[in-house]
Amino acid sequence: MTSTTASWESTRSDILRKALSIGVAVAIYGVSFGALGSTTGLSVPQTQALSLLMFTGASQFALVSTIASGGTALTAIAASWLLGTRNAAYSLRMSPVLKVTGARKLLASHLTIDESTAMGLAQDEKLFEGNASRLAFWSTGLSVFVLWNVATFIGAITVKAIGDPKALGLDAAIAAGLFALVWPQIKGRHTLTAAIGGALIALLLTPVLPAGIPVLASAVVAIVIGWSWSKQVDV
């Protein structure tokens, strides 16, 4: 982990190395997405448009899978929106960290996804006056955006995935990577409860609710803890 005594140069290269490796891991899924998209009735430009304009992997897979399973346009759109809802919480959380306005705000919003948010929050917010958090967010967002789109294109035109992401263990790698990024954010009773409670709620609801809702429902845990925590402080 980055200590406060580390120089900006070493902090910066550490962040950029992580950002690149996250981009590479996610890109293998981008190839799968491209291949899936162009084999389920979407043209190459349409598949690419999803990676360029929607740019939030879970929503993209949800939209394409809904179409593949014979769902209507409206259910496909709704599925993508549902999976994209957690990004609203991310951008709300990142806004005081990023401190951007105008065109940069529009761009930052577009780059707000699981990976960029987790990387941005994994850094100490006070480190280098917030520059470490900001660099982590932007570099991860851009790294994933570029590599995800290149990968989508490769998958869409070759119509086959380069290797099976699961055979390479990438599904586990992405889960572990995100966990490593959440880890430094868990410091103290409240964040620990938010972490464990959120995970348990999502797992309990997984067998009974459609994909996407269980993760979203974990927000309730954060709200309840935030609520009871503030009451304790008020007393």
């Binding site: 709300l92 263990g169 959440v182």
Partner: protein, 102 residues
């Protein structure tokens, strides 16, 4: 199909933007601030849990569970980020390669 693609993308962008568009003064409320600070922790941990245990709408124990377990151990022993990720990929990849887990 273009309608589906563009309407989906527009909605997803709007969701990303809405959080950033909320004025910062809203976050000055201590209750709101605490909740907003905790939200990504709950959401991301929920995501990690689902990515580790969920498959096609049910809970399952496959190669991902030992893989994330090994990665957690590396994390606990203060291994680097790359080592955490590679240990998870390696564990899951090897277990599947030798047919020890799905």
């Amino acid at each position: 199909m273009w309608f589906t693609v563009l309407a989906g993308a527009l909605g997803c962008y709007a969701l990303k933007y809405v959080g950033a568009a909320i004025p910062e003064s809203f976050l000055e409320n201590p209750l709101v601030k605490r909740i907003v600070m905790l939200l990504p922790v709950s959401l991301l941990c929920a995501l990690v849990a689902v990515q580790t245990f969920a498959a096609d709408g049910s809970l399952t124990i496959d190669a991902r569970v030992p893989a994330v377990g090994v990665a957690s151990l590396v994390l606990w022993r203060k291994g680097s980020f790359i080592l955490v990720v590679l240990s998870a990929a390696g564990t899951a990849g090897l277990l599947r390669h030798f047919g020890l887990a799905s």
